[in-house]
């Protein structure tokens, strides 16, 4: 019982800090803490497979994804006007939690002596359709992420089309029309530093007047 009280206090602290942290990176780390405590609660309840998955995916993969997104989008939280006032939001959340308490407690007691199939039988045989749907969802999400993040080439072509240089010289080819090998070669050229004698202008030769 003492273990559960400690875990619940830590869960409340981590969840609150994940919401109130002023930096997104800190907030993501507190969320990883929530995942760890959730995994411990699941393990104590006997749901070991779910606990391992929550620990590896919730505290691992999702945290890595959050760090990646924060490194691209920026860590700073811009001050913004609240749509819902803070006190009203706290009141609504407390009222909803109170309503949930009245729905859940007291917890009914059922006959615990139920003979249950093994986890593998339930997952792969009784819920086979759900698993197939889950696989389809995973591939759909993967393709969606790839499609969302792989439009830099089209965006570069669009930016080039509206640039003043392209409007002055409409015969120039668009970036999207160039072969991929040319773009790779141009990136390699940009990565090589120029020698110093190229950067410094050469002194102009002094012409001596011929004697007459």
């Amino acid at each position: 019982m003492g273990v559960f009280i400690v875990l619940l206090v830590m869960l409340a602290a981590c969840a609150t800090m994940a919401v109130y942290a002023s930096r997104l990176v800190i907030s993501a780390l507190w969320l990883a803490g929530v995942s760890v405590i959730t995994a411990l609660l699941l393990y104590e309840a006997g749901a070991t497979v779910a606990a391992v998955l929550e620990l590896s995916i919730g505290a691992g993969l999702v945290t890595v994804l959050l760090m990646l997104a924060i490194s691209v989008a920026g860590d700073k939280l811009a001050p913004s006007r609240r749509v819902v006032p803070r006190r009203l939001a706290i009141g609504m959340a407390a009222a909803a939690a109170l309503a949930a308490v009245t729905l859940v407690f007291p917890i009914p007691v059922y006959d615990p002596d139920v003979v249950e199939p093994a986890f593998g039988v339930i997952l792969w045989e009784q819920r086979a359709a759900d698993v197939l749907l889950q696989v389809a969802l995973i591939f759909t999400g993967l393709l969606t992420v790839l499609g969302l993040l792989a439009e830099t080439r089209a965006a570069a072509a669009e930016a080039q089309a509206v640039s003043p240089i392209a409007q002055m010289h409409p015969s120039l080819p668009l970036i999207s029309d160039l072969p991929e090998a040319w773009l790779d070669a141009s990136r390699e050229i940009e990565a090589v530093p120029l020698p110093e004698d190229v950067l410094e202008p050469e002194p102009e030769p002094v012409l001596e007047a011929e004697p007459q």
Binding site: L7, A18, A45, A47
Partner: protein
């Protein structure tokens, strides 16, 4: 305190904090973090309800599905947030309704 009671108290904590975050926060990545809190509450509720009925394996099979789908939701949401930041220069969802590219 029994195991289902402890799990349901954890569900209530995550539900209350997550609901407050959804109402009060405006940053898109922060909203995804808050959604993760709510989904973890749902996972705990599934396992707690199955523990009451003595069918913990069925509950954790549902929890595994929820965890996998929630990860996909987070990945798609974060990719959308990156694109919103690139196109609009902000992650504030209250400003996105009035911005044009």
């Amino acid at each position: 305190m029994s195991i289902p009671e402890a799990l349901f108290i954890g569900v209530l904590i995550l539900f209350a904090v997550g609901l407050y975050g959804l109402l009060a926060l405006r940053n898109m990545i922060k909203l995804i973090i808050v959604l993760q809190l709510l989904v973890k509450g749902a996972v705990l509720a599934l396992v707690a309800a199955s523990a009451i009925h003595g069918r913990i394996n069925f509950g954790q099979s549902l929890a595994v599905t929820v965890i996998a789908v929630d990860t996909i939701v987070a990945a798609v949401g974060l990719a959308l947030a990156i694109q919103v930041q690139r196109h609009f220069g902000t992650l504030d969802v209250s400003k996105l309704a009035s911005l044009k590219r």
